[in-house]
Subunit: 143 residues, 2 copies
DNA sequence: AAATAATTTGGAACTATTACAAATTTATAC
DNA sequence: GTATAAATTTGTAATAGTTCCAAATTATTT
């Protein structure tokens, strides 16, 4: 990912420009795989020897607070990071473990993008996810 | 909760009848509060001195596998237990921390109750949850 | 009632995440 | 550009939820 693009993105959110932040955001903008913090950390470690796991946690937390990222709570054992901030649903495949993007059901993307009220409650975030078998794994099993 | 009712429920699922299981399922059938394992454990400890935390974990896991319970993954720091197995949505209030039941959107309860296909994927579990402010907390803040 | 099987217990291990103080890097002011 | 101040990163230790496991207990079967 173009370094200037990433720096621009950090500036948009009013964040300081540092090497780790560039690397982490860059990784997320290139790899749309809903990684865990540990996957990000391990992946970046090769080319960034001194990187600390804590920094990845800190940075992800910071970017999430800014609204640049979303954290997914699908697999109870850990958090997955989603850099696509447009509201959408997810499928966690019990076979391959991947998290696949799907369209939101029953609510428009526009509505889900901003707080709205429902039965007197203020809804600020909409989360939809499924567990099951993805198409690919179904095909493999039916062979 | 009537002891016989709880025992009957355990038998329905083909499970052995033991004191801890009766206590735990009884608690869940009486307290519809989406408790954590720890809340269940602490609550039962008073009247069940020897109870082990591990037993609560084991039992919850067992009941979940049977389909007698559902585990919710809303707050990333822990799992919440839901003994209402009819599909429904949840709101996690950022103020009071409660988890409130809401109706499912965009999919019928009947459809969500059984596996179905969507874009070639097999959907086995439907989860919908919101984060925001519950009605009660909104009213308090607007005073 | 004895033997067998299932379950529970409790302590230790594990893992994701956070806390924190020292070291380093980045931004600011001259 | 360099010195200073501020922000960030690092690494270790702490925390918390959960799982592992072998011994002890309880339930079930004979």
């Amino acid at each position: 990912m173009n370094r200037e693009t990433v720096i621009g993105r950090l500036k948009e959110y009013g964040l300081g420009i540092t090497q780790p932040r560039i690397e982490i955001l860059s990784y997320l903008m290139e790899n749309h795989v809903h990684p865990t913090v540990d996957v990000i950390y391990e992946s970046l470690l090769e080319n960034n020897p001194g990187l600390s796991r804590t920094t990845v946690y800190n940075t992800v937390q910071l970017l999430t607070k800014c609204g640049a990222l979303r954290t997914l709570c699908i697999d109870e054992s850990h958090v997955n990071i989603d850099e696509n901030t447009m509201p959408h649903a997810h499928l966690l495949c019990r076979e391959c473990g991947r998290i696949i993007d799907l369209p939101l059901k029953g609510i428009s993307v526009e509505k889900a993008s901003h707080p709205f009220t429902m039965d007197g409650n203020m809804i600020e975030e909409v989360h939809q996810y499924y567990r099951g078998l993805c198409q690919e794994c179904r095909n493999k099993q039916n062979k």
